[in-house]
Chain length 186, copies 2
């Protein structure tokens, strides 16, 4: 087996997700995943520390969010900044992956350790957005409220997008969610 | 020692919080807590399953929130229902306990297991609010957004209230936070 396996990461992810769906996350071992993918355990560990990382792995969402917010024009209004970032995020990270993300959601909800990590991830994203807003001079309370609200808009919209079977883009669902929230709070 | 110790719960809580502050949560044992409180380990276990429960214990916030929402007038607007409940909650559960809650916050942030449980608790409260809104006929998206937002308003306001040294009531900080959020999203 050559050291470089083209598409190895995707093959490992596909094999892992199939096995998680068939027999559960807890019951699946790394050797089972590599056997199904036709790759070695050594190759697995070039990409993932453990099987949990396959579920969340390879995607440093907080770091990407921080970069996106740091790159934005300095005079953007805070809400515009958030909505532009959420749209970009939806288009680059979610669109076209709905089936995979549905399967991922099932796996996460089946395992307490994964649910816990999902909550922590969500909290970390909120902190990154909060710190970016503070760095732009937004007041403490406004930054805290807007950071939490941006995470809420994303998570609630992703749930709706995963539940729908039409082709409405996630970015449009997020924009609608903002309008719904505005009218709910009016 | 009599079976019934007046004020035993409060004495155990006070002793535990003092020890957590002095030597850390992880280093503190149940026998140390009971020795400081002058009570037996058996008495401790009449009130708390373990030392972690002293931090979160005795307060079934999700159940209380569910009851409060179920008792509300059936024709209240969703936002009025939420804001009335938050005000009642602030007045009955937070006001007058600021120093104790500051100490509690320090202990929770010092320990990963407690931080995790705090996140889970927050998620559970959100679910309770969500289910109560759904039961009142609020649409799925609106219920999800408003449930998350009510948790955001409470947590962000509590942080601000704990950080302040004036006597502004928490309920007023929550009402101001709603106005700040409205103008941020406008």
């Amino acid at each position: 087996m050559s050291r470089w396996e083209p598409g190895a990461r995707r093959r490992l992810e596909k094999a892992a997700f199939e096995l998680f769906a068939e027999q559960g996350f807890a019951a699946t071992t790394v050797p089972e995943i590599t056997a199904r993918a036709g790759l070695s355990t050594r190759t697995f560990h070039r990409y993932f520390a453990d099987k949990r990382e396959v579920v969340f792995g390879g995607e440093d969402v907080p770091a990407e969010a921080a970069q996106m917010l740091a790159d934005a024009a300095p005079d953007d209004e805070p809400l515009d900044l958030i909505m532009t970032s959420l749209r970009t995020f939806a288009e680059t990270r979610f669109e076209g992956r709905r089936d995979e993300l549905r399967m991922r959601r099932e796996i996460v909800s089946s395992d307490p350790g994964l649910r816990e990590r999902d909550l922590q991830k969500r909290e970390t994203v909120g902190k990154v957005v909060h710190d970016a807003l503070i760095a732009r001079g937004v007041s403490a309370t406004q930054a805290a409220l807007l950071a939490e609200t941006s995470v809420t808009l994303l998570y609630v919209s992703v749930q709706e997008w995963l539940a729908r079977d039409d082709e409405t883009p996630l970015a449009d669902i997020i924009a609608d969610a903002l309008n719904t929230l505005r009218s709910t709070l009016a």
